[in-house]
Symmetry: C2
DNA sequence: AGCCTGTTTCGATGTTCGTCAACATAGACG
DNA sequence: CGTCTATGTTGACGAACATCGAAACAGGCT
């Protein structure tokens, strides 16, 4: 059950835009987008921080970005022993895809 | 022909992330997102600036945001007489939808 | 000219990004 | 237990960037 109707259906309300923009904003940084795709494409659907820290910035910066992705509702984290694993919040990809889906793809 | 593989396929390269993040970033502002949805949902696929200026900010600010959406490759504009019309850059919605599409939706 | 629609320039205010240092948590080892 | 080492998180700071509106500007119609 997505948060908002497709962008092509009608103009979003201010509240809808606020919520939805927060997600797009989280993916609107190259480092965060790479981190997200690293988690999303990881085998088993999850990735340890130590496995995805090679994105060109320092490790604390990675942690800051992961926190933002978490606050945006895109990732969830779980500590297992020494390591912290991140995975994609279920349903998020489908919800965002739904937002961008045109009702009739190659028509208009 | 999308710019990048789905986010679930593999970790994006730095260049791919740079290009793609620019689009998400453009939609990562509530005002811009509303403007974009206003254009995307407009009858005929296009909207005059004067029709979508009621988003709670001044008209110059609307112009600023429309410019950013244009620079991000999400909108195109055309002047016809007194008015300027904006429409969604063809293929953009499908390309971004493709990015977020999981290979097997409700499986994992 | 006068009017209308949009854009651009400019400056003030606020936000984001990246790093260093300090802290928290978990395991290993004596 | 105490200490050491490894993995992540948090706080604080400066530099860079984004947002917004008032005013000035540009293009088109009558």
């Amino acid at each position: 059950m997505p948060c908002c109707p497709p962008l092509t259906e009608r103009m979003l309300t201010a509240e809808e835009a606020e919520r939805t923009a927060a997600m797009f904003k989280a993916l609107g940084d190259p480092v965060r987008l790479r981190l997200f795709s690293a988690v999303a494409s990881a085998p088993g659907g999850e990735a340890c921080v130590c496995d995805i820290s090679d994105v060109g910035v320092s490790q604390p910066t990675v942690s800051h970005h992961l926190k933002k992705l978490k606050e945006a509702g895109l990732l969830v984290s779980e500590r297992r022993g020494t390591w912290v694993y991140y995975r994609v919040e279920p349903g998020v990809l489908a919800a965002m895809g739904h937002l961008l889906m045109a009702p009739v793809p190659t028509d208009r």
